[in-house]
């Protein structure tokens, strides 16, 4: 019975091809728009997620406080209020996975006849773990290097290209601030951060070496910044609170005295960025859904016309034994079939356009199976929802009136 009805729905669709095609076009455009918008939205989300994952997750930094000399305030990380021992103490706290005191600045690098200015970060091996930074060539340095202030360096990809060109940098000696450093490893590429700064334009050296040979420190062991990684996003506020308490205690700050350090949540900025793109993709989807709604109304409109046109046919069918339910099923099937066919074409169209956008503009697009599934579910729903009223109208016709209809 259902098979026979599917055949009839097919025949009815074929009876007025132009009209069926135009009705379908509404769905094609609607579904196509949803697919394209979702592909672009998810692509943007994916791109942001990629950037965030290169930063490392659940990170915050503690900066040393400002100090004032003759009325001139230094700004954050200016004062010598944090030291390596603070870092070690933070590492003992519950919920802390990695702690990396860092000291950084920009220095000129020299290798042979080449030179290049880059960011130099003095830190401990835990820094690489916290930032989930891999070494693609060579090896990292260990705690012993930090203890004995060896002159070894890890360089980012950009530095490797600008300083060493096609040569393998591992084992080569370059100079930072007149001091010779042996390059022991090349870092994996991380690309741009959220500010657009090239994260691969970096040199990482042991903290003690940086303090003694490169930057110099006002007090031995003092650092400008400590990077802390919490075990989870949920643990972040708790860990930040306990770090504050610990540092106030260690720095002997009395009740009412201001903190002599600053804390910044790096993940928060990233999350707000991710939130923005998520909102954007929802917005895009919502706008596209409106066209789907319009497509659905198009189906309803045509189905209503079709019911009126076929009133006599409905009367004949009823006279020879169709139940209300049979008529309802028939018209509903027709609406769902138009909707489905439109959806299928829309899916294809959306896919082609999304790929074309990717090919032409290089914009990241993500085409997910779930998006296709959603589009199909929506098409079926739209077909049933907007087909229901006309189908019910058909089913409730009085057979006598319907037979008399000219």
């Amino acid at each position: 019975m259902l098979k026979a009805m599917l055949g009839e729905a097919w025949r009815a669709m074929g009876a007025n091809r132009l009209r069926t095609a135009l009705t379908m076009l509404g769905m094609v455009i609607g579904v196509g728009a949803v697919v394209i918008m979702m592909a672009i939205g998810q692509g943007a989300q994916y791109a942001v997620q990629q950037t965030i994952s290169t930063m490392g997750s659940n990170l915050f930094i503690v900066l040393s406080g400002s100090f004032t000399t003759a009325g001139v305030r230094s700004g954050s990380a200016g004062g010598p209020t944090l030291n390596v021992a603070d870092g070690a103490a933070i590492g003992e706290l519950d919920g802390v996975t990695n702690v990396a005191p860092t000291h950084q600045g920009t220095r000129q690098l020299v290798y042979g006849s080449q030179n290049w200015s880059s960011q130099v970060i003095g830190t401990t091996p835990e820094y690489l773990d916290a930032r989930a930074w891999s070494i693609v060539n060579g090896a990292g340095f260990g705690d012993s290097d930090v203890r004995s202030a060896t002159r070894v360096a890890l360089i980012g990809k950009t530095v490797a290209q600008n300083l060493f060109g096609d040569d393998d940098p591992v084992g080569k000696t370059m100079r930072i601030q007149q001091n010779p450093f042996i390059v022991i490893g090349v870092l994996g590429s991380k690309g741009q951060n959220l500010d657009g700064r090239d994260q691969d334009d970096t040199v990482i050296i042991p903290l003690s070496t940086a303090q003694r040979k490169v930057f110099g420190t006002p007090f031995l062991g003092s650092v400008r910044m400590i990077m802390v990684q919490a075990e989870s996003a949920e643990a972040m506020p708790r860990v930040m609170d306990s770090v504050t308490a610990l540092l106030r205690q260690r720095h002997r700050l009395r009740e009412g005295m201001p903190d002599d350090f600053f804390m910044r949540n790096l993940s928060a900025a990233a999350e707000s960025e991710a939130e923005t793109t998520r909102t954007m993709s929802i917005l895009l989807g919502a706008i596209a859904s409106i066209s789907l709604l319009v497509g659905g109304i198009g189906i309803m409109n045509i189905m209503l016309v079709s019911v009126t046109e076929r009133t006599r046919e409905i009367g004949i069918r009823m006279a020879i034994g169709a139940r209300q339910q049979d008529i309802l099923t028939q018209f509903l099937l027709e609406a769902v079939m138009i909707s489905f066919a439109g959806c299928l074409l829309g899916l294809l169209l959306g896919l082609v356009i999304a790929l074309a956008i990717n090919a032409v503009t290089g914009m990241v697009v993500v085409i997910s199976g779930s998006a296709a599934l959603v589009a199909f579910a929506v098409a079926a729903t739209v077909g049933i929802f907007f087909g229901w009223y006309p189908a019910r109208k058909a089913a409730r016709l009085d057979p006598i009136e319907a037979l008399r209809y000219q």
Binding site: M1, M318, I320, G321, A322, R323, Q324
Partner: protein, 233 residues
């Protein structure tokens, strides 16, 4: 005597109009036995169409009872009525009422779709009945390819496809010329000779003369009910 196919007792139907309740049918009694060939006659407004709609289970009466094949139809729900129309009755209309986009064979077999018969048996039945009305060679054609008289034959084949107890024909020759009308009436005569019960509505007395029994309606009541003197078949 055999059990009646149709027994109507005090059947009445009123319509609400602006001027109040209008009684289209005023308590009609009628019994039709198997194998009868009955013509219902009367001018427009006589209530014969209302009566036909009630007999065809397309409408329900305001008062009275209608026993079709022993079952009281007067208070059945729409689905049960649809089932009766499908299994027990066959309709032939004045305007043929074939579905224009379907082959003749599918048109004839359409009632079987609603009876839940599978495709193979529908095809076979469609072909068989088309052959019976002499149109076997047009099985795959569309209705607009054949003449009015031929379309009415297809409609009769459709009415027969579910082996109904009764065929209801509403002005079956109203849209046909006299020659074709004769052909259709001959077909009805043949079917009746095979034992099929036929009820015919017409306002033409020469058409009614083909039937074996004539019932005349006037103002919602039966005014005469008699056998035809000379049956042509």
């Amino acid at each position: 005597m055999t059990k009646p196919v149709i027994r109507v007792v005090g059947l009445g139907k009123s319509y609400a109009t602006a001027a109040g309740l209008f009684p289209a049918l005023k308590g009609v009694d009628l019994t039709i036995r198997p194998g009868e060939y009955l013509a219902i006659m009367g001018p427009s407004g006589s209530g014969k169409s209302t009566f036909m709609n009630l007999l065809g289970c397309l409408d329900t009466p305001t008062v009275g009872d209608y026993f079709l094949d022993g079952h009281n139809v007067a208070h059945m729900d729409p689905d049960a009525l649809a089932r009766l129309r499908n299994r027990t009755l066959g309709f032939v209309f004045q305007g043929f009422n074939l579905l224009p986009r379907m082959s003749l064979q599918d048109n004839v077999a359409l009632p079987l779709v609603y009876a839940g018969v599978d495709k193979e048996r529908r095809r076979a039945a469609g072909r068989e009945l088309l052959a019976k009305v002499g149109l076997g060679q047009y099985a795959e054609s569309l209705p607009n390819r054949i003449s009015g008289g031929q379309q009415q034959r297809v409609a009769i084949a459709r009415a027969l496809v579910n082996q109904p107890r009764l065929i209801l024909a509403d002005e079956p020759t109203g849209n046909l010329d006299s020659h074709t009308s004769e052909e259709i009436m001959r077909l009805f005569g043949e079917l009746n000779a095979e034992g099929i019960t036929i009820v015919l509505v017409t306002h033409e007395s020469d058409i009614a003369a083909h039937a074996k029994r004539q019932v005349r309606f006037l103002d919602g009541e039966i005014v005469s009910d008699h056998l035809t003197e000379q049956s042509p078949c």
